[in-house]
Assembly symmetry: C2
């Protein structure tokens, strides 16, 4: 089974996804928020590319959330902090989410047979679900404004670590996947520090959202796997 | 001083090079060959983008070398193996070189104030020379056919290691640079193995060029620094 890791959305030509299982990652914070919202009982999360799309998709009872440049969008109920998506807030409701990088990564992956939203929170469960699909795997790091983001690379490396542990002989890695695996192994004991020192982490700390980073760094704390069914992310 | 690392030629928009010192890397094998040829006494190396350009640049006494898909170009005297560029072969002569990725990386960097050709062979000397230019630094991994190549990332990480040792407080790394630094530190004792297991390394072994990989893995064995002067790489 071939496992390819793509450094950022900019590199994600749609031909790379055909007949594959795609795993989209935006650790800070979109996929962490998606995982948290679904774990808290949201019915589904609908990734929207634009603010206008998000508004058009909203039906009565839906929650609309998202960010641009790490800030809540004017008029939206929620931002992109996983801490907002509590059971009380989202239980039994649909969430429409639009973010700068993460929702774009999910849209870029749509040519794949299966699209999974993964984060540090649910990496182990995501790796297992991906293996069960029995297809080659492409892991897309959302990155930040077309550039690589180290927290997404770290999560890609953690996914590779799990894939290799679950299926030691059958995983064939591309060079970037090998590099991210080495990155994860070198930082397995300092995940939170790596997030804090990343460009996105520093930006969030400046905006007073350090708490979000702690939330997003809880490795393998949630065992659900959001995957795309039509235009909605639901649980397997 | 800001240090940015670019994963592959595809990501190398020319705006990223303005007012900076660029370090182009193609460990397997173009920049290793360039360093070797100049260390062996070649007067200069002229990177040409196409086979036709290379032929047009050739004057009596010049050597024309290069590869496409890791193989020597029909009618060219030399391929892209550093072992061909001996003192006897190239001493006192100009070399025109065209390769799939490395010479393209040098051309992409031309907007920079200074362009250096670096490899594992001359990483320490290259880092020192780059610091002396007192500009922000952009390190361009040539990669392989628009994809990241782990041996170039490893060399970028080694350059970062040297830059940090030479100038501990002043180096400000982007996320990809941080990841490559971690990659290097995790593999500092297994450089040759990393090259052997890379996609490019495996391709070269299949073609019977394993010896080239040994040559290209001799970390900091050469202290010269090729830099671009007009359209020619010469020694400082």
């Amino acid at each position: 089974m071939h496992v390819q890791v793509i450094p950022s959305v900019k590199e994600a030509g749609s031909a790379k996804f055909n007949h594959k299982t795609a795993i989209a990652i935006d650790v800070l914070r979109a996929t962490s928020t998606i995982v948290t919202a679904l774990a808290a009982g949201a019915v589904s999360v609908i990734p929207a590319e634009t603010v206008m799309d998000a508004r058009a998709l909203q039906r009565p009872g839906d929650i609309v959330g998202g960010e641009r440049f790490s800030r809540k969008i004017a008029g939206f109920e929620f931002g992109n902090s996983p801490r907002e998506y509590t059971e009380q807030a989202v239980g039994g409701r649909r969430v429409i989410l639009t973010t700068t990088n993460g929702t774009r990564a999910i849209h870029k992956s749509m040519r794949a047979d299966t699209v999974i939203a993964a984060s540090l929170l649910n990496a182990e469960a995501s790796a297992r679900f991906a293996l069960e699909q029995r297809r080659d795997i492409v892991i897309l790091c959302a990155g930040s404004h077309d550039d690589f983001a180290i927290e997404d690379g770290l999560c890609a490396g953690l996914l590779v670590e799990h894939l290799k542990q679950m299926c030691p002989s059958a995983v064939e890695l591309d060079d970037f996947g090998g590099a991210m695996h080495a990155l994860y192994r070198a930082n397995a004991d300092s995940v939170l520090d790596t997030l804090m020192n990343s460009q996105s982490g520093k930006r969030l700390q400046k905006l007073g959202s350090a708490e979000d980073i702690y939330e997003c760094a809880k490795v393998d704390s949630i065992s659900i796997v959001p995957y795309l069914n039509g235009d909605q992310l639901i649980l397997k």
